[in-house]
Symmetry: C2
DNA sequence: AACAAAATCCGAAACGTTTTGGATTTCATA
DNA sequence: TATGAAATCCAAAACGTTTCGGATTTTGTT
């Protein structure tokens, strides 16, 4: 593998000059620079990022810490799209991306911080990490710049990107109300998840603004799981047969609710309307197709990467990015739309 | 950031001893080792992989080169699952994984080989790269150990993992034949793709063994695209109304074929049976659910990583892994199966 | 021709590890 | 007590780059 030293020898100059020539410094004669570039090409030279990173003390790589990279999580294309978005921006600005996942069988022998520090990534993006993950605090408190997805923590070195979850939920519920529904149930995620909290707020606001009462007992937590949501929906629908519509905090849970409705012999959307959240691929393929609040997951990844790298280069205006959502009306709420 | 030098100072030993203590060499007194480990912990030491990689000339990182990491490709969860599988094995053996994607807008300013060499990855896995990709040759000819997914190239430094595509296709077609179908069309991918070639072979073998004739004109290429497959299916079905079944070389194309059938008012499976290949998530959610040949995509990734790392460590028995497929019978071929 | 300024180049140190080849200490044995 | 072996330690070189501070050469001006 040819090094800068080989080039120096071949060109009859010092390694300093080769380095400076290749890096575009102005204190090297244009003729020598051309010669050096030529030789570098001939010798098929690739700079050694390890050596460079060592001396410069940065690697031009960011870490992507995800916890949803399991076999089971493929139904939910959230992680994948975020990853694609991150990848997109990162490759635009010539960074590389190293993937850390914590789905190892021997779980967590190393903390996120250790992973990041060992690989000397310049910063990290965290996706799918639960708020109660003990290591979340650690990385946030470390000096590693990072941006979180859907977790609202901000400090000198940490920012986040999220969508407007209150408004998103509100739009969904307003849609249901506009269709005449009055007894609306909500299938939420975790008690303590940020997005759950926000979406519940949007749910309540929409009811309030329409002059409708909020019934605590019409809200269940489905843990963002399909099966769990199904069980909870069955319970809710039998205990409260007056329910005519469901707002679900994720599409995956909406799938569960749809199953529940089918099990109970309730027609969608005539007897029960269902709207989800996320707009995963499956949403448009269910029977009936699922109405939902679309989040641009790709954009979330893209913006997260952009924010992080702006932070790294000291040119971030703010450390928070809030993206828009979009209401997608399909047949799980209204028959034969458009 | 603390270094072994700091530890050495604090422990009153040389850096050599610290290094050897931390790396478990036997020529350091157990008492000193404990002391060093203790101090390392106190000082919150993380080894610098850049420095280590520089001197050892290997990085304990592998590259994953994918070309399907675009916004559009999310329907097809192939890439994601392979990635999850790779990630799983890689984290089991304490390697890291750096993701290279070539979906940059400024396309291909750097070749795969350059990416790998600059980051000094020890080896690479290539997924979703087309056989006619000009850079495929390059990386295969380079001295970088790599394993390809679904591309049968083998050399001293390159291996591959694939599934038994001939048998897989055969099983699908035999299933159709066993249901009484005699006029079976095939929606293939590219002319020159390895898997297409193999699946066509399986298609022909199944026909041959059942004593059925092979009709060239009943085979179309849908480029592995949903829309393209739909168009081709419409053409085929109108030109050859005798067709009663379709074998598709991918589920995505099967979706297209299903649309075509619906457009033409043909009921599935009564008037036309459809079977796909891959078993993507969507397959079980279509109406009717799609019969298919399931590939264990996660396992493909896992095995690829395993093979690569075995190759890196010089203990690979062979450089080829062929995985099994499984016939999944759903309602797009038989009404109300068990 | 002389001199200052500008342009071009370079030696050496530094980054944080591993490893080689030997130095020193400890220990058991004669 | 002397001696060799075993155990324990260490100095220095090496990996490939960047950068600091200065050295050398070229150029322009008078």
């Amino acid at each position: 593998m040819t090094t800068i030293k080989d080039i120096a020898k071949a060109a009859g100059v010092s390694i300093t000059t080769v380095s400076r020539a290749l890096n575009g410094y102005s204190d090297v004669n244009e003729k020598t620079r051309q010669k050096i570039i030529e030789i570098a090409k001939q010798l098929n030279y690739s700079p050694n990022t390890l050596a460079r990173g060592l001396v410069m003390n940065k690697s031009k790589a960011i870490g992507l810490l995800v916890s949803g990279l399991t076999r089971e999580s493929t139904k939910d294309n959230f992680t994948f799209e975020v990853l694609a978005g991150v990848n997109q921006y990162v490759s635009e600005v010539d960074y590389d991306m190293v993937l850390f996942s914590t789905t190892s069988t021997k779980q967590r022998e190393k903390t996120y911080t250790q992973l990041c520090r060992e690989r000397r990534v310049d910063g990290a993006i965290l996706q799918g990490i639960r708020v109660d993950d003990p290591y979340l605090q650690e990385v946030v408190e470390s000096d590693i710049p990072c941006v979180l997805i859907d977790i609202p923590i901000e400090s000198e070195t940490v920012g986040y990107v999220t969508t407007d979850n209150v408004l998103g939920a509100k739009k969904a519920v307003q849609h249901l109300i506009s269709l005449g529904h009055r007894q609306i149930a909500m299938m939420n995620g975790y008690e303590f998840a940020f997005v759950s909290e926000q979406r519940l707020k949007g749910f309540q606001e929409a009811l309030f603004e329409a002059g409708l009462p909020f019934h605590e007992h019409l809200v269940a937590n489905g843990a963002f799981k399909e099966e769990r949501a199904e069980q909870e929906a069955v319970r809710l629908l039998t205990q409260h047969p007056e329910i005519t519509a469901f707002f679900c905090a994720s599409d995956l849970m909406a799938l569960g609710v749809m199953k529940a409705a089918k099990t109970l012999g309730k027609r969608i959307p005539e007897e029960i309307a269902i709207i989800g959240y996320d707009d995963i691929i499956l949403a448009s393929y269910t029977t009936p197709p699922l109405s939902t609040i679309a989040q641009n997951k790709f954009a979330m990844g893209y913006e997260a990467a952009k924010l992080l790298i702006e932070m790294l280069e000291g040119k971030a205006q703010s450390r928070v990015r809030v993206l828009e959502t979009e209401l997608k009306i399909r047949e799980s709420t209204v028959k034969n739309h458009g």
